[in-house]
């Protein structure tokens, strides 16, 4: 691995240059202080680069939306004839991802590859470079040290790492670690922006990683919780308690970086229209309701159980990786203060 140094003063210039060759996605602080991970190409003149913010606390909408948008067309039709609307396999640079979101993206990748391949997602994700900026000021609700999904990811010297490049904030500059051949080529292609990393920057980065880990306040016994979920120890009574409080708005699932459920619907005007899909949420009463009216999960507590067991039991049993990456979005978003971290805490106590 060859570490490099990227001075903070060079970040905007680097992104301005990458925009010429890549669809460049980066965290941009919008009006109202929300940070969105959006495409900045063409937005340079409108000041997107000035609003670039790698110090962001968290993104409300997770970057999985780049491969799996909230709403997308599957095909268009006119007079009974279908026209495909598959996305081109463009080069995409995802610059400034957090570790939890990157792990979530890899989890979603595997899901869309399994069984039948999802051409829409896989085309969008085919030529992708993932640049991680480790989280040095973790938000209050996240717990990535417990789920082992951050705040930094390990550099794998024997094989490709999860990231292509990982950036560590060391004050005036980022220490940049390469995690893959693609990452190395990227740093070489844009070498005018990178400097040789001095010896002390490497020790600084080690300190920064440790400090970031210590800054993650919320800690849960994740492994014990998963074990208890897999052994079916989680009692109905707790689900019923959650069900009493939950207002079934689906917010936690719309912001969840590993949720992949969608609804499909047609839109038509005269003889033309399109078939589209949009994100769906398993806590909705209509999610399992059949045309006959029969609904296997009509009772609220069953839907609460599904929501948590999918992430903490079935995902783990199917893939060996839990569907929770500890980002804390569900708790931050919930209007009645329920988060998966609390459910995990309850499960770990059993």
């Amino acid at each position: 691995m060859k570490e490099k140094l990227l001075k903070k003063d060079n970040v905007k210039a680097l992104c301005a240059k990458t925009c010429k060759e890549w669809e460049t996605y980066a965290p941009v602080r919008e009006m109202g202080q929300d940070v969105q991970f959006v495409k900045i190409n063409g937005g340079e003149k409108k000041g997107a680069l000035d609003k670039l913010d790698l110090d962001y606390e968290s993104l409300l909408i997770c970057p999985k939306a780049i491969g799996f948008p909230q709403l997308e067309s599957l095909f268009e039709f006119q007079n009974g004839k279908i026209k495909e609307t598959v996305q081109p396999r463009t080069k995409k640079l995802l610059f400034g991802l957090r570790a939890c979101d990157l792990k979530a993206i890899l989890f979603v990748d595997e899901f869309f590859k399994r069984n039948f391949e999802d051409i829409y997602y896989l085309n969008r994700s085919a030529n992708r470079l993932l640049v991680l900026v480790g989280c040095t000021h973790p938000p209050r609700d996240c717990f990535c040290t417990s789920t082992k999904t951050g705040p930094f990811l390990p550099v794998n010297l024997d094989a490709e790492s999860d990231f292509d490049l990982q950036m560590v904030d060391i004050g005036d500059a980022y220490l940049v670690e390469t995690g893959s051949k693609k990452g190395e080529e990227f740093a070489e292609r844009y070498k005018e922006f990178f400097d040789k990393a001095p010896e002390e920057s490497i020790s600084q980065s080690k300190k920064a990683k440790l400090a970031a880990e210590e800054a993650v306040n919320l800690k849960v016994d994740f492994d014990k919780a998963i074990k208890n979920f897999c052994e079916d120890k989680f009692p109905k009574e707790i689900y019923e308690r959650i069900a009493e409080r939950c207002i079934y708005c689906g917010g936690c699932l719309y912001v969840c970086p590993t949720c992949t459920c969608f609804n499909v619907f047609d839109e038509k005007k005269d003889q033309a229209g399109r078939r589209r899909r949009n994100w769906d949420a398993c806590v909705f009463e209509g999610y399992t309701r059949e045309a006959s009216g029969h609904n296997p999960r009509r009772e609220k507590w069953l839907r609460a159980a599904r929501r948590y067991e999918h992430k903490l039991k079935y995902d783990y049993l199917t893939t060996g990786m839990s569907g929770c990456v500890g980002c804390g979005r569900c708790l931050a978003t919930c209007p009645v203060n329920i988060g998966i971290s609390q459910v995990i805490e309850e499960a770990a106590k059993l």
């Binding site: 009974g80 459920c261 969608f262 619907f265």
Partner: protein, 280 residues
């Protein structure tokens, strides 16, 4: 990479009324090559589309040994199926598939086969029944137990008569609410157990119908000596994609669309109670 979400145009060749709310559609792919090569197994389903209205999983009721066309028996129950009922011959639908697993067929050669269906549950079994009849001598005795709410709601009325004439085949019908012409059994499908000997040690049962019926039928089958692994049930769930992606048909770690829709009773017992594979 194949785009599994793209359906292919297929024309309605003929429509037969089964009852006041159920019709059978005979459909042929417009692409002649596809019409000839489209292969499926009894128990599988397709995603059937009306562009502009939507798409739904519909089981194939025709038998794969009869090539060149597909048949679907559809009750007008929801928005899409009601729109399908407005179709006329030569109208166009769109189809993708086939999806899901199938009823075991080759593995049950030489065994006695029992088909138990309720209402609109017969259409998916009909695909298998006709496949079995096409190779009648390879199987043991056959019993078909079929119940509907009223005599009118029995599907394939003419075909049922022809089934009765097949060697060593017993057809038992029942209805919940008889009319003045009905001379057969009255009651739910499990009341047919009084009319025939269902005891067996190696018989194979295929069950399809409403959840409450399935539950009571399984109880009776077990009492008659059927083994858990010899009872096959076709489950129904709300689905949007049919290919294990949209999530709606999940039961535990399984998807009914790709891991099912056919499950043995031993497999069903491994599914979490919470997901109510058989409960109402």
């Amino acid at each position: 990479m194949i785009n599994e979400y793209l359906p292919y145009p297929a024309v309605v060749e003929s429509i037969r009324n089964e009852s006041f709310d159920t019709k059978t559609f005979k459909v042929v792919f417009e692409d002649k090559k596809l019409a000839g090569s489209f292969d499926y197994k009894p128990g599988q389903f397709v995603q059937l589309s009306l562009l502009g209205t939507g798409e739904a999983p519909i089981s194939i009721t025709s038998s794969p040994c009869r090539r060149g066309f597909l048949e679907f028996t559809i009750r007008a129950a929801g928005r899409l199926t009601r729109a399908l009922h407005q179709l006329k011959p030569s109208d166009r639908t769109h189809i993708r598939g086939p999806y899901g697993n199938s009823f075991p067929f080759e593995q049950v050669k030489g065994k006695d086969l029992y088909f138990i269906a309720g209402g609109i549950g017969l259409p998916p079994l009909r695909s298998l029944i006709n496949s079995v009849f096409d190779r009648r001598e390879e199987f043991g005795k056959i019993k078909i137990l079929y119940g509907a709410k009223t005599p009118d709601e029995l599907c394939f009325k003419d075909e049922l008569k022809s089934w009765q004439k097949i060697t060593d085949t017993e057809l038992l019908l029942t209805v919940d609410n008889p009319d003045e012409h009905w001379q057969g059994n009255v009651g739910v499908v499990t009341t047919l157990w009084h009319n025939t000997d269902m005891s067996t040690s190696n018989g194979v049962a295929y069950v399809c119908g409403p959840p409450v019926m399935i539950r009571f039928v399984i109880m009776e089958l077990l009492r008659s000596g059927f083994k858990d692994e010899n009872i096959y049930i076709s489950l129904e769930r709300y689905m949007k994609c049919g290919i294990g992606k949209c999530g709606h048909c999940n039961i535990g770690a399984k998807f009914v669309c790709v891991d099912g829709p056919v499950f043995s009773y031993s497999q069903i017992q491994q599914l979490p109670d919470k997901d109510k594979a058989l409960a109402v």
